[in-house]
């Protein structure tokens, strides 16, 4: 154990952590599933546009999945995300239709701030209740969900279509990439189209990855989820860590509401109904453990993409019915959880062996020791 070769030791490859392992599994499954769909169903799956469509249609889901991942890593849960999307969409739609701001750009900007404000409000309130009053996160966010849904219906029971012209322009704005496009039957080149929301979603994933990996807050979230008591003893401010994780989660939900509106510019009492369940499923499939301490937004991103792909496959296959979709998603979710626990079990078994080997090795190298001293 003289270990003068510190650098070599730093470079030595470590076995994968649980977080990494589960993330790779979900990436792998996504690739396999997509490839299988491309081979069997052909059609749209062979075009890059399919990937962009998955992103365009599921941008809001990806964002709220990230919102769930951060609180789940910290050992909590947030089921108000869907409700907050609903409330944000309705409020923003009403605001866009009824404000008297001259400049259309300014009006959209204020709408965005409104969306973020609603999310932030929920985040602050829920964060305070969970972190400082130590109320069960499930209960707090369940109440948050009811509150948000209730407020949405108070705002309007009828669907509200966005009539704001500037915003409609925004909805139509798409990034076009011609070299990823394809030639239609009539010979026209159709470029690949990416919505603003999809770009925002990918940006959110990247930012959240950086936050979780490289900031003190992010690491503290992992520590709190890994062992709350230990985190406290290690000098981490557990309350503030939990609080901020809910604030971020709320803020992202508000953002997701705005992105949702950019995809479908209409408010409605049942918008994003049950999307919190999809978000939880995405996080779990992406390798976030409900017990906390393990997870990664890159995994979550692929988790959402897996769910989205399943839905697409079913929509394109003869089994197109909503109950089929739900059953298939459910089956996949069970399969993933089973797979995860099998993999973790195997890994932990080898972990114990490694530990014992290490202990044996240490003992060999210390022939003088006989254990904890004598009394």
């Amino acid at each position: 154990m003289s270990g003068k070769n510190g650098n070599n030791r730093l470079r030595a490859r470590e076995p994968l952590t649980d977080t990494q392992l589960l993330m790779y599994i979900s990436v792998g499954i996504f690739v396999v599933m997509y490839a299988a769909a491309a081979l069997t169903l052909k059609g749209g799956f062979l075009k890059p546009q399919m990937i962009f469509d998955l992103l365009n249609d599921n941008a809001a889901l990806i964002i709220i999945s990230c919102a769930l991942t951060i609180v789940m890593i910290g050992g909590g849960i947030n089921i108000s995300v869907g409700g907050v999307i609903g409330l944000t969409v309705m409020s923003c739609a009403l605001f866009l239709n009824n404000n008297h701001i001259e400049s259309s750009a300014l009006s959209i900007l204020v709408t965005l701030l409104l969306a973020l404000g609603i999310g932030l409000g929920f985040g602050l309130l829920q964060g305070f209740l969970v972190a400082h009053l130590e109320i069960q996160p499930f209960i707090v966010t369940l109440a948050g969900m009811f509150l948000a849904r209730g407020l949405t219906t108070i705002l309007s029971v009828n669907p509200v279509k966005v009539a704001h012209e500037g915003f409609q322009e925004l909805v139509k704005t798409k990034l076009k990439i011609s070299w990823l496009g394809y030639t239609a039957q009539n010979g026209n080149l159709i470029p690949a189209k990416i919505e603003i929301g999809a770009i925002v979603a990918v940006a959110v994933v990247i930012v959240m990855f950086l936050i979780l990996r490289y900031t003190r807050l992010g690491r503290n979230v992992y520590a709190v989820g890994g062992n709350r008591q230990s985190a406290l003893m290690l000098g981490i401010n557990v309350k503030s860590t939990v609080f901020w994780s809910y604030v971020i989660s709320g803020l992202l939900s508000g953002l997701a509401g705005f992105v949702f509106l950019m995809h479908k510019p209409a408010g409605n009492a049942s918008v994003a109904m049950r999307s919190e369940m999809d978000a939880i499923a995405s996080s779990i499939i992406g390798g976030t453990l409900l017990t906390g301490g393990v997870g990664n937004v890159i995994g979550t991103f692929f988790g959402s993409m897996i769910l989205a792909t399943i839905q697409k496959i079913i929509a394109l296959s003869p089994l197109n019915a909503s109950w089929w979709q739900e059953m298939a998603s459910g089956a996949m979710l069970s399969f993933f959880i089973l797979l995860q626990s099998l993999v973790l079990m195997r890994k932990n078994r080898s972990k114990r062996k490694a530990k014992q080997k290490a202990a044996a090795k240490t003992a060999e190298e210390k022939p003088s020791g006989t254990g904890g001293g004598t009394a």
């Binding site: 003190r216 008591q229 062996k353 210390k366 020791g369 001293g373």
Partner: protein, 501 residues
């Protein structure tokens, strides 16, 4: 505050529901001293430390710390760390899902960003310096208990602190690691750090400490310099009476109860973790497995109990061939096993003391035959008294007991099943001197009553006092068996080392 004093705690009181854990306790720590905090299990040592570091709020009293004018108000471990108190708690308080390096640095900086490269480089340096066999990027859960303990210590000593607190840091370390820790402590003392040291190993206290403060039942007994307090007196102060039990122990002649009848016999028994070995034990016999940490002594008894996956071998109990491939079958066949790692295999933190005690018996009876409440209460009462378990009541959740008392509860659990063959792996780790002797006496008494016992301990003396036969292991093989006159410390060490001089 007087010169030369880094920490002064005055009149500290702390109550938990049903227990007065600290009653008007004073504690003074001077610059550049190693101050041992001594007391029986449940005396209040860990509580005093946790009050100081802000884990618990004190009910009354004042704390003054050098460099902080007036009274210090510490409400969280974070604050304690910031004003220069670094702590290694009794239970290992690191995060299993983070890397070794991260565990050493998290919670210490006010930097908003994490500099992984820095962390890993500095962690590697520290690990190398201290000779800790771990890698910076390794996930902590992949390290052995001893390494985790060393990492916790490395973290604490790396902090620029004026007070260093070590609550039973040596409980899972071997001699060499202990010696290294002591060297570190002496270096820090030289630099003027005040060190609080808690342990149940009396010899360690006399090896490094300058001063001793003794607590008993949450009250201060006194503060002494080491040279004014011989070991016998220290024990007397801790338990409140003088300890002449050693003499009493001699009355129980070891090996007296051993009969000819073989209770348990294994041929070529092997498990996923250990190589095939033969083993037998007679009725009323106390034997021991000894060897270095990692020599396979724990793995062997785990195989006997079926705690690891059994891969081969023939087992006879009372002459009849039986199958013991999992703990449940072992229990049904009258084998009991007190595991070494009580955090992982032992306590169920949120269940009450009573439920933890009756757990094994209940499992044997099967869930369809619940133990009546009155009976369970009687059992719990009996063992709480017999092992002197300090608990507010039977209904207290076990997690709120002191470390040593939790250990006693697990011991009670196995004694209650009245196994014909009981395996005890490190039953006295973290247990105070008085109770240690009680447990040794109990083992001898049980043997006299016809129970067979396998006893594993890191303290050879303890094994020599109780066992009439010692099986010595090295590199996962049995390399010798000592009985009768061969049972001396020198002989054991020689066999462990491999017979050569």
């Amino acid at each position: 505050m007087e010169d030369g004093i880094v920490l002064a705690m005055r009149g500290i009181c702390k109550s938990f529901p049903g227990v007065k854990a600290l009653n008007n306790v004073d504690f003074t720590l001077r610059k550049g001293e190693i101050h041992a905090l001594m007391g029986e299990n449940g005396a209040g040592k860990s509580t005093l430390i946790k009050v100081l570091t802000g884990v618990y709020e004190k009910d009354a009293g004042s704390i003054e710390i050098e460099g902080c004018p007036g009274e210090a108000h510490i409400h969280s471990p974070q604050q304690a760390q910031n004003i220069g108190i670094s702590t290694v708690y009794q239970e290992i308080t690191l995060c299993p899902n983070l890397t070794v390096a991260e565990n050493m640095f998290i919670g210490r900086t006010s930097d908003r960003l994490v500099h992984w490269k820095d962390y890993e480089k500095r962690a590697t340096e520290i690990l190398d310096n201290l000779g800790i066999p771990a890698r910076a990027k390794q996930e902590l859960s992949r390290c052995s208990l001893a390494v985790q303990q060393m990492v916790a210590i490395a973290r604490a000593v790396d902090m620029n602190c004026k007070v260093l607190i070590l609550d039973e840091p040596t409980s899972s370390l071997d001699d060499k690691e202990v010696a290294m820790l002591f060297q570190l402590m002496r270096d820090l003392r030289g630099r003027g750090v005040g060190i609080v040291f808690v342990t149940h190993f009396l010899e360690q206290v006399y090896e490094v400490s300058d001063r001793i403060t003794v607590l008993r039942n949450g009250e201060l007994v006194g503060e002494y310099t080491v040279k004014d307090l011989p070991q016998v007196e220290l024990v007397a102060k801790m338990i409140g009476k003088s300890l002449d039990d050693l003499a009493e122990l001699e009355q129980f002649q070891k090996g007296k109860g051993a009969q000819d009848e073989v209770v348990y016999e294994a041929e070529e028994l092997s498990s996923s973790e250990c190589r095939p070995f033969d083993f037998k034990i007679r009725r009323g016999e106390v034997n021991g497995f000894t060897g270095l940490l990692g020599s396979g002594r724990s793995e062997s008894v785990r195989a006997i109990f079926g705690a690891d996956q059994v891969t081969g071998g023939k087992v006879k109990i009372n002459g009849k061939t039986v199958r013991v491939s999992n703990p449940h079958e072992a229990m049904k066949n009258g084998i009991g096993y007190l595991p070494e790692d009580r955090k992982r295999d032992g306590i169920i933190a949120d269940l009450s003391v009573r439920e933890n005690i009756i757990l094994a018996l209940q499992t044997i009876r099967g869930m369809n035959h619940p133990i009546p409440r009155a009976k369970a209460e009687a059992f719990a009462d009996e063992y709480i008294k017999a092992l002197d378990i300090k608990t507010a009541s039977q209904d207290t959740p076990i997690k709120s007991l002191s470390g040593g008392n939790q250990q006693k509860v697990i011991l009670a659990r196995w004694l209650l099943t009245h196994p014909q063959y009981l395996i005890l792996d490190e039953p006295t780790r973290g247990i105070d001197v008085g109770t240690k002797l009680e447990i040794q006496k109990l083992v001898l008494r049980l043997a006299e009553e016809g129970m067979s016992v396998t006893f594993i301990s890191s303290e050879i003396e303890e094994m020599l006092r109780t066992c009439s036969r010692l099986i010595v292991m090295r590199d996962r093989n049995i390399v010798g068996e000592l009985t009768g006159d061969e049972l001396t410390q020198a002989q054991v060490m020689k066999t462990i080392a491999g017979g050569e001089e």
